[in-house]
Subunit: 194 residues, 2 copies
Amino acid sequence: MDKKIITIGRQFGSGGRELGKMLAEKLNISYYDKEIIDSAAVISGLSKEYIAQNDEVVTNSFLYSLVMGTRTLTGQKTVEEIKMDAQREALKEIAAKGSCVIIGRVADYTLREENPFRIFISADENDRVQRVCKRDSLSKEEALKKIRKMDKLRAAYYNEYADAAWGKADNYDLCINLSKISMEKAIAMIVMNF
Amino acid sequence: MDKKIITIGRQFGSGGRELGKMLAEKLNISYYDKEIIDSAAVISGLSKEYIAQNDEVVTNSFLYSLVMGTRTLTGQKTVEEIKMDAQREALKEIAAKGSCVIIGRVADYTLREENPFRIFISADENDRVQRVCKRDSLSKEEALKKIRKMDKLRAAYYNEYADAAWGKADNYDLCINLSKISMEKAIAMIVMNF
């Protein structure tokens, strides 16, 4: 197999991360999710905690700088920009190492010159609520609230940095609804492409 | 195989229709595209020409009635409503007959109680331009203009009648980009689900 970069965007609670892990195992290639945070911390000198807290989120400092135009006034990078630059560098280092599965973090757009195979995973809201209830020990109401909030944050973050629309089919190569297609079948379908 | 209704939404010029035809042949089930117009004409008493002209388009008479609120004033159906009612009935008759592939016409939403397998087909703009140039004997500029116009019309039509967003991944079970995944592979992937 030639080097293959597989990126996975996903709705919160859809099972996209689990699919990514199983896919990487099946293809025997590396898997990156939270690991990207660690690399970005090392590259930027920012703390892991700060990056983790602001993972896949457009931070307030960034919005503030946009509104106030402080970036153009001072010419200095905001903490958000430092974080994003480090994350981009981390993603490029990861991609340079060889075939891998990368979860989220605008990797599809950041690594577009590598011609990644871009996957998006969705699931019906009911199934996502169930999954999040169980995983995060939340009530149904709390899980639903969290799902909607997280998807909004992810979409805002993606749309800010990717120059494309999060979750829009034509922005990906393959989108799979895990409420209709089983995890095993989804993986078999993806593997057919490699 | 149990009865299976497969609906295909598609970007203009993406190759979704060709895929649908090949898929129906492969599965040895019926294929419906323009045939829906004929049925809707018979059911409604409207001419085939009128329905074909307003196929997958929100007609002006409908927009006019929305703006003017004429429907609620007179209580009579507009021609657009007659057309849509007939189309819905035609789709339900088609679905009752047995397994089939149906192209466009908000069939995924109209037949939602049949639990259809909902596919959306996209392709990169360059590939779509090439396909439309060839198929419709247009210049590149004309083809690009047509693609953008048709997709806008389809989206407006779908969003009006489906209570969902055209081309948004989580509104479908499987979305495939034919610029990245070959027609043959796409069909093999779909067939795995039946």
